[in-house]
């Protein structure tokens, strides 16, 4: 089970400069090979992707006022945060210590600190409204195992003797294998797949109704009586592209995108944005589970969160390839859905995302610079990972071993 964490905390006045320097240093050496002696994220077992983003507030003279952290992780949140404390406690002090409300008693009582750290993160966290995952239910260790296996097989195949052996000797054996008669299960496939489809549709309907209730009734009630989200009072007047926006773009196979756009006030917009995101979420969760969303096959993880008590919409994406090809794909393949979500953002093109140049411009204007971006498998695309998985899953260890024993 993969999960999503979105945290926004207020940076202590006077700490922004130090924090920016630190995060830039970490971001430029995210794998900890050189100057970054603070964080060795590669050792983490629960972490797929993460990023730190400093959000400037124009209402505060453009000061970097908030620290945004996003991670995609395996398992429960507690275990994920414990891993940060256990493996990088000092780095957490240095990074989160720059934020208001950070618990300070790490060395005195580690267990208590873990609990306080969890509370601190949880209090500043946001739900996602819509999310897409490129490869469901794959733990980091599995993805890495698939990659490793494929790389080994490829180098093995590079040996010309192996190629010849496979092409001739093994093929002569394979040719002797009987062709399996169609099993009963195969013949019943049309019926079983119909039933499976029907069941899936029922599950989708139930989930859809539940989500409608949750988003429009349960959560608003709970928010008013229980946990009030902190008010951030974000004021972002996106008029110019943030300097250095592409500093850490196109360095590895994957890229990051962080966009914060305005949601217009008013009850109609309140409903419209939530409903659009709910629809996208349901489609991504129930129907687009094979690696691409709306025909875009390059998204590892992406999500939308509504922040600052409904005033701003946060979009996070971890995608393959260049920014231009990704935004081009938005326009080519997913324009109607994105128009539904972003239509009310200021300067959004009147003709929608299909109007590529103004669309690109408005995305860049609303994009916030990511200080540090980490991926657990930086050289793999979604398509690569799915292929590696199919390659590995075709064989399973026990049956191959059992088969070999018979010889």
């Amino acid at each position: 089970m993969q999960n999503t964490l979105t945290v926004i905390a207020r940076i202590k006045p006077g700490d922004a400069g130090r924090l920016e320097e630190l995060l830039d240093l970490i971001g430029q050496d995210i794998r900890g090979k050189d100057r970054n002696i603070y964080l060795k994220l590669e050792d983490f077992e629960t972490l797929h992707f993460c990023r730190w983003v400093m959000i400037p507030n124009d209402g505060n003279g453009g000061q970097k006022e908030f620290l945004l952290f996003v991670s995609y992780y395996d398992g429960g949140l507690r275990a994920h945060l414990d891993e940060f404390v256990d493996r990088a406690g000092e780095a957490m002090d240095l990074i989160w210590g720059g934020c208001v409300g950070y618990p300070l008693t790490r060395t005195a009582n580690p267990e208590r600190f873990k609990r306080d750290f969890y509370r601190f993160i949880f209090r500043h966290s946001y739900d996602f409204e819509a999310r897409h995952i490129g490869y469901h239910n794959e733990r980091v260790v599995n993805v890495r195992r698939y990659i490793n296996m494929r790389e080994k097989l490829q180098s093995f195949l590079d040996l010309r003797q192996v190629e010849k052996f496979l092409a001739e000797d093994l093929k002569s054996i394979v040719d002797l294998l009987p062709i399996k008669p169609r099993a009963l299960a195969d013949r019943l496939r049309p019926i079983t797949s119909f039933v499976a489809g029907l069941l899936r549709f029922i599950v989708f309907l139930l989930d859809f109704v539940w989500n409608l209730l949750f988003v429009f009734i349960i959560r608003p009630i709970r928010r008013t009586v229980q946990r009030r989200e902190p008010r951030l009072n974000l004021q972002l007047n996106w008029q110019t592209i943030q300097p250095g926006i592409d500093d850490i773009e196109d360095l590895v196979t994957q890229n990051q995108l962080t966009v914060i756009s305005r949601i217009k006030p008013g009850i109609r917009e309140w409903f419209r944005v939530r409903f659009a995101l709910l629809l996208i979420n349901m489609i991504a969760k129930h129907f687009q589970t094979k690696g691409s969303l709306g025909g875009i096959p390059t998204i590892h993880f992406a999500h939308w969160s509504i922040i600052d008590r409904g005033r701003w919409l946060l979009f996070i994406s971890n995608y393959d390839g260049s920014w231009d090809s990704y935004i081009g794909d938005f326009s080519d393949k997913a324009a109607p859905g994105l128009d539904l979500v972003w239509r009310s953002a200021p300067d959004y093109p009147a003709k929608g995302a299909i109007d590529l140049e103004p669309f690109k411009k408005v995305i860049r204007l609303n994009q916030v610079k990511t200080q540090a971006f980490y991926s657990a498998y930086p050289n793999s695309t979604v398509i690569n990972i799915l292929n590696d998985r199919a390659l590995t899953r075709a064989l399973d260890r026990d049956s191959v071993q059992a088969w070999l024993r018979r010889l």
Partner: protein
């Protein structure tokens, strides 16, 4: 569909002038706005337009014996004294120029190909203001033409920044020995479209002021409320050095042996296998035949007319004929990319360029006898003057270079860049899909180096008059 105004559009946009095999690519510096403008006024009437060529009494077209094209860099427009608002109305990739740090990285202009090593436009792009493309039907006529132009620009105080001459090689081959310039899109409403052109692309992909493949009008620069872009376009210049010896020696070193796993390959001679390997990298046979029609040996019965009319999805979905990573398949993947034919074609058609330009330097190898024997580099400079025309440099030229040529992950691959145009550094591979087992070449070196470059605005005749107005 709006008909393009042919007499306002520069000739090179609509025509490759295939009959003019001798070119001079001349780069100039403008000393000051006044001199620049008077020179521009003098030269504008000589610029070739896309107007239909006249016919003689028998109805035969009279082809021109020369042609002149002019392009201005952003520094050039600045030197002409354009106001800031007008300068800022140009797209940012054009304003920043080809040598900007990030841009150089995504284009693959790194290491030996980095702008600081270039002969043209790399070290001091601020002095590269004008490109003149002179084409002529003979070397003598090119010289006379150059003399005439030189007198004119010197009269007005412009200075020569650099130049390179290009000459058509026999059978329109490039220096590695392959037919070049086959794949060209057909411009909607265009004249003189090449014979094997495919498919028809909206005018606005190549000329400002017309609808593009998105059904939109391209962004257009403005001068004091007037449209400066209409009927104009953008041109990319790159001087590409080709290491012919390295290319063919690589084929020789990596040629499949008599023990190869594929019977069809074992049946070929060693020479034919070298050509086969080179063809797998290019995607065409030296004569130009696309590999989708002839996977093991060229088939001379396939006519030139079919060289650009092929698709992948039905015939060759996995690249068993034309490898997924080959140069031709990457440069225009046609219907090949996911998710389906229609989406793939729509996407491919939004990232096309018109290619102009000629080879430069003398051939190292006999181009009609491939593979060459015992090739050794003679140290001479040779390669291709690459010129391409597009309405949006970022979405067309740069996209092709970044997302198709230099992308290790193109089409589901793992670690392969374009073997011809990619910025290979011996860490990548070239995968040749075949049954039963693929052939993978590792440590692919870079065979083509960049030695010059620039982004230019190709103004319409109207815009040239606006720009040169005192």
């Amino acid at each position: 569909m709006a008909q393009p105004q042919l007499n306002d559009i520069q000739g090179l946009i609509m025509s490759g002038y295939a009959h003019l095999g001798h070119g001079a690519y001349i780069f100039l510096t403008i000393p000051d706005a006044t001199s620049g403008k008077t020179w521009l006024r003098a030269v504008t009437p000589m610029i070739s337009t896309s107007q239909e060529w006249p016919k003689d009494a028998n109805g035969n077209t009279i082809k021109p014996s020369t042609s002149l094209t002019i392009g201005l860099s952003h520094y050039g427009l600045t030197a002409l004294g354009l106001n800031k608002a007008a300068l800022d109305s140009f797209p940012y990739e054009f304003r920043e120029g080809i040598t900007e740090r990030q841009r150089a990285r995504i284009l693959g202009d790194v290491a030996e190909s980095a702008p600081k090593h270039w002969e043209i436009g790399g070290r001091d792009p601020e002095n590269l203001h004008v490109i003149l493309v002179l084409l002529a039907d003979s070397a003598e006529r090119r010289e006379a033409f150059r003399q005439q132009q030189q007198t004119l620009w010197e009269q007005h105080g412009l200075t020569l920044y650099g130049s390179v001459d290009g000459d058509k090689l026999s059978d329109s081959r490039e220096h590695f020995g392959f037919l070049d310039g086959v794949s060209q899109p057909k411009i909607e409403g265009g004249v003189r479209n090449p014979k094997a052109a495919e498919p028809t692309i909206k005018t606005g992909e190549f000329i400002l002021g017309y609808e593009n493949e998105y059904g939109q009008l391209p962004d257009s620069p403005q001068l004091d409320g007037r449209d400066l872009g209409k009927n104009g376009s953008y041109m990319v210049f790159r001087k590409l050095y080709q290491d012919v010896a390295a290319f063919w020696n690589y084929m020789k070193a990596n040629v499949p042996s008599d023990e190869d796993s594929q019977a069809q390959i074992r049946a070929l001679s060693d020479d034919d296998r070298q050509v086969w390997l080179a063809a797998k990298m290019v995607g065409r046979w030296p004569r130009g035949t696309p590999l989708v029609f002839a996977p093991f040996k060229d088939d001379p019965s396939i006519p030139f007319e079919k060289f650009n009319t092929f698709y992948f999805r039905e015939r060759d979905p996995h690249g068993q004929f034309m490898p997924l990573g080959s140069h031709v398949r990457r440069s225009n993947p046609r219907d090949s990319l996911p998710p389906n034919k229609q989406e793939a074609l729509k996407m491919a058609d939004r990232h096309l360029i018109i290619r102009r330009g000629l080879p430069y330097g003398t051939p190292l190898i006999p181009l009609d006898q491939l593979p060459p024997r015992d090739v050794q580099d003679d140290g001479a400079d040779r390669g291709l003057v690459f010129l391409c025309i597009n309405a949006n440099i970022k979405r067309q030229f740069e996209f092709i270079q970044q997302t198709w040529a230099n992308n290790r992950k193109f089409h589901g691959l793992y670690n392969d860049k374009d073997p011809i145009l990619g910025d290979n550094d011996k860490t990548g591979s070239m995968t040749i899909p075949r049954d039963p087992v693929r052939l993978r070449l590792n440590n692919v070196p870079r065979f083509v180096q960049v030695r010059g470059g620039g982004y230019f605005f190709l103004p319409s005749i109207t815009a040239l008059k606006l720009l040169s107005a005192p």
